[in-house]
């Protein structure tokens, strides 16, 4: 591995190309927020099984912390981990530094302020809600908004932070577009995804946070809201995630991607079909039916595109890939994520049909699906990348390979149990409701599943603790506990 350590190509890399400190800083922020997010998830899970020890405490209300859970993962963990990794990957791919080091650090701090302000708004906002001046403001502007969360999934970011977040996203785009613009010759597939993602993220965030709040109400706002939550996954998280896979997988396997043509199909297919599907989140709503059909068809179309991407990566892994899958830990995370991605997308092609929607809409099935894609795919990928990068950033091997494998099994295993459990729970809930039994039947019938979910979540959290302890010991410079450090280093 050491030969290819700092060399994505034969060309020499200037020493100060990558600001390694900012990569570490972003990763620290990301790990902090995923810890908070998982604790918030645990709180909500405990509430559902009626074991919440803090029930009745205003600032620990599960309703508010449910929003912390989702926002901390999207904007705290994924965004921070992606930004950190972009600071590593973009300069290496373009051979140019980011636009400005000072700007990079400004964005870093600004982003943490945005995420923390979002969290503060969500937790404290509703408490301040009935202050007379807040009510007066809302009345004068005819905007039924509060200091706390907005009523839009993943757009809960209080309205007073939205402009700052938008400015931040614009600066991110500028900071990374400059090196991409300076690079000469054909661009590698990773950069297509990154470039598109910078444009898409800004546009998506602007659309979702401004239009339903200021411009439209009612059903058409629902269509925009569906487009927003969908594009946030499809046009922010997905292209950055796949872009990074196209970058790291060939480096770790030491061979080029299997088919350049398929990567073209994957990119353009995603770019065309993914944004067309927003309305599939609100099937059977009063949104016009022909638009719902359109969203269903383009969703099924994108699953075919996804299949080409997954085939391309398994082609790259090749016939002797099993060894790599077992022994090369980041590759194991990446390909596990890809298997989960395929499951997610296959599931998506089924659940988007009106037949499935009848049964599973509004149930835990959807919650399982969301966990599978956000944790099972993108979080596992980012952990795989961190496992590859931390020894390079810190200049020493991991303290313990064994703890890393614990992290892998607890995270991937716990997640998979949670996914199966919630999917099954969703089917039960759908049938309880349709059978017209009293509502309690559905919540009582869900309780065994919710209990399993608590323990699956605890396993995932245990995995995270293994990772954090391992990182702490590595950063501290503790002697590696692996039996054969040379072998361990080779495996990373």
């Amino acid at each position: 591995m050491s030969q290819s350590r700092n060399q994505p190509s034969a060309r020499a890399v200037p020493a100060d190309l990558v600001d390694e400190k900012i990569v570490i800083a972003y990763y620290m922020a990301a790990l902090t927020f995923i810890t908070i997010s998982m604790l918030a998830g645990l709180l909500v899970a405990l509430q559902l099984v009626r074991w919440n020890p803090f029930n009745g405490a205003e600032l620990l209300s599960p309703g508010r912390w449910r929003m912390i859970h989702t926002n901390a993962i999207a904007y705290g963990f994924l965004a921070n981990a992606f930004l950190g990794t972009l600071h590593w990957a973009v300069p290496r791919l373009t051979f140019h530094k980011v636009a400005s080091k000072a700007l990079s650090w400004f964005i870093f701090y600004a982003w943490q302020v945005i995420v923390l302000a979002t969290a503060a708004g969500i937790v404290i906002g509703p408490t301040l809600q009935d202050q007379p001046w807040v009510m007066e403001l809302a009345k004068q502007t005819h905007l039924p908004m509060g200091l706390g969360a907005q009523g839009l999934e993943w757009g809960e970011t209080p309205f007073w932070i939205d402009p700052v977040a938008l400015l931040g996203l614009l600066l991110v785009a500028v900071n990374f577009m400059v090196p991409i613009g300076r690079s000469k010759g054909p661009m590698y597939v990773t950069l297509w995804y990154f470039m598109a993602a910078f444009v898409w993220t800004f546009l998506t965030y602007a659309m979702g946070n401004l239009l339903p709040e200021y411009a439209v109400a009612g059903t058409s706002a629902g269509a925009i809201g569906g487009l927003f939550i969908h594009d946030l996954v499809g046009l922010f998280v997905t292209p950055l995630g796949w872009g990074l896979m196209y970058y790291f997988v060939p480096i770790l396997l030491k061979k080029p991607i299997w088919s350049h043509g398929l990567s073209l199909v994957g990119f353009w297919g995603l770019a065309f079909f993914y944004p067309l599907q927003g309305i599939h989140h609100f099937l059977y709503t009063p949104i016009p039916m022909f638009l719902q059909y359109g969203a269903v068809i383009s969703t099924i179309a994108v699953e075919l595109v996804v299949a080409t991407v997954v085939i391309n990566f398994f082609g790259t892994l090749g016939s002797k890939g099993y060894d790599q899958f077992v022994n090369n830990l980041p590759i194991r995370y990446f390909y596990t994520g890809m298997v989960f991605y395929f499951i997610t997308c296959f599931q998506c092609a089924l659940q988007v049909t009106l037949t499935f929607q009848k049964l599973i809409h509004f149930t835990d099935w959807v919650v399982g699906h969301a966990h599978l894609v956000m944790f099972g795919v993108f979080s596992l990928w980012l952990f795989g990348i961190m496992i590859y990068l931390f020894p390079r950033l810190l200049g020493r091997p991991w303290y313990s390979q064994k703890l890393l494998t614990y992290h892998y099994w607890l995270s991937a295993g716990g997640l998979f149990v949670m996914f199966l459990d919630l999917t099954l729970a969703g089917v039960f809930q759908g049938w309880y409701w349709a059978s017209l039994q009293p509502w309690d039947a559905s919540t009582n019938g869900s309780t065994p599943f919710w209990i399993v979910r608590v323990f699956a979540g605890l396993a995932m959290f245990g995995g995270l603790l293994c990772f954090l302890y391992n990182l702490w010991m590595t950063a501290k410079g503790a002697e590696s506990v692996d039996e054969s450090p040379a072998l361990a280093a080779a495996a990373t």
Binding site: R64, L203, F272
Partner: protein, 212 residues
Amino acid sequence: MFESKTGIFFIAGIGFFVLAFLGNGAVPMLMYKDRPEKTAEELVNKRVMNQFRDLAERYPEQFQAAFGAASEEKCAEALRLGRQIYVGEGCWHCHSQFVRPVSNESRRFGPVSKSEEYDNELQRPVLFGTRRVGPDLSREGGRRGNDWHAVHFYNSRTVSTDSPMPAYPWFFDGSPDKPNRRGLALITYIQWLGSWLPEYPYYEELAEVRGE
């Protein structure tokens, strides 16, 4: 073009995004653009006023401190605040406001939701919801009394034995018979949901319940 910077920036980045926005966002916006968006003042109706007055009679001291007299203007204020509480506390993450035409939902909850029900400022952003841990609330108004709601918000398990809903004691000044401004506003908002329907809930058709 498919691998060039301009192609990716303009066609994939901006072009396809705009195309999708036109198809998925602009079409419904244009279809519904002529329908007026009602303000909270316009949403106040006899049924919700009746509930609002009931709150004033039931909790006179608390109501006096929070809203003064039970006027229509104050009722609109309560609806706005109630909706903000509903959003801010995350109620809409466990309760939908949208009755689907499938899965026996119209038999459980009431009439299937229609587009015009959402043309008002209290549906900005629209609260279709994403998950139903608890039941749909879009036809909840008038189903239960204000005292039931007060006790239920204070501690749901008092009236619904196995409810997984959290307790909200901060809507009260110490006990369930003393809802504060936030509690009164939220109860008003909940009682408003579905009150615009011509025939719902069924027992509300009695003249004295309708406040006539």
